[in-house]
Symmetry: C2
Subunit: 197 residues, 2 copies
DNA sequence: GTCTATAAGCCGATAGAC
DNA sequence: GTCTATCGGCTTATAGAC
């Protein structure tokens, strides 16, 4: 009734975000989420129909902030297009050195719930990556790159590959390697654009 | 006592392989593994100290067969080096169209157990990828590519990226996109080799 | 080495009061 | 909308017989 500065629902999602991202979906109980949010489990179930519902809300809450961050990194980077793309990977490497970093929440959820392909959370993850792909394709199209769609997909493969590889080896330098590969591919596409004229 | 054609231990690992790969580590109980292996849980605990121990055995059992398959795909492919590398991705796309395909067991385990960085199973996964990396680097070195190490890492990023992306979108065509990117990078490295002479 | 049986605790989800 | 209390089931792991 008394509306607090952050709503109960927001506090629950925030707690779920920290716990699910940190320890994985099936590694976290709703008891733990409720306790961290400072509510009882009954209240949690008032706001969310089920654990699956909360998992979907957890990823939905990461969608826009994540996209905004990538765009910001790109826009603030100096240099030509290949260097600006590479800069995304450099910033990612920096964030991956933070001790709490545990890869991409969307990819990890799809890996953990691979036996439930239609799970709402997986759909949210897929949509998130599609949005990033669409933004990157737009950037490449405006640069006059012929097959912008193919190139953006390739960059996304490198990006998601670096999430997976860095998580496995705990070595963020792979993100810099991925950035160099991305720069090579963008460079090649730009030269292709000129050659085809 | 009576040694069966397949030992009890092997049957347990085989059951664990199917279940863990299919439904994820934390999504599978040892009750289910024991039942599928046709033994009691007490027998399972005779052969494996803990669930973590069994998880490690599950991934260890996938190491060599997986590497052998990639090598076979490469060796049987026609054409020059870039085409042979691309053929690995084409074969992977074909296998990803099988209904039981659920990504890379090593990567999915590291994603699910991201909160346990020192877990034995993660070490086995990291070692597996390092072996593949070393083999690919050797191939590139023998082709006279200058920075074979950098190139093999880039190809692995595309490979692992395609595992993650295809699992999320359930669209194996991303593996063909990754294969084309890999071919581009190998092509570029070969041209670099000539240019530097 | 394999069995039956069970400990001890955690899980998602719900009942009913206020 | 939030609380206390609890259900029925499942989980890892162990005890003790043969």
């Amino acid at each position: 009734m008394a509306r607090s500065a952050t709503s109960t629902r927001e506090r629950i999602v925030s707690a779920a975000n920290k716990l699910f991202y940190g320890d994985g979906i099936r590694g976290v109980s709703l008891d733990a989420v409720a306790a961290k949010a400072g509510v009882t489990k009954r209240t949690l179930y008032y706001h969310f129909r089920s654990k699956d519902d909360l998992v979907a809300a957890y990823l939905a809450g990461r969608d826009q902030p994540n996209l905004a961050l990538f765009r910001k990194w790109f826009e603030e980077a100096d240099g030509a297009l290949p260097a600006k793309v590479e800069q995304i990977f450099r910033n990612l490497a920096r964030s991956a050195r933070h001790p709490k970093w545990k890869g991409c929440g969307f990819l990890r959820t799809s890996a953990e719930l691979a036996n439930m392909p239609g799970h709402p959370a997986i759909k949210i993850g897929a949509a998130h990556k599609k949005k990033f792909d669409a933004w990157l394709r737009e950037v490449f199209e405006q640069a006059g790159i012929a097959d912008a769609s193919q190139l953006s997909r390739q960059i996304l493969l490198l990006l998601d590959g670096s999430f997976a590889v860095v998580l496995l080896h705990r070595d963020p330098s792979y993100m810099e390697t991925a950035g160099e590969a991305a720069r090579s591919l963008v460079d090649g596409a730009l030269r292709g654009r000129v050659a085809r004229r």
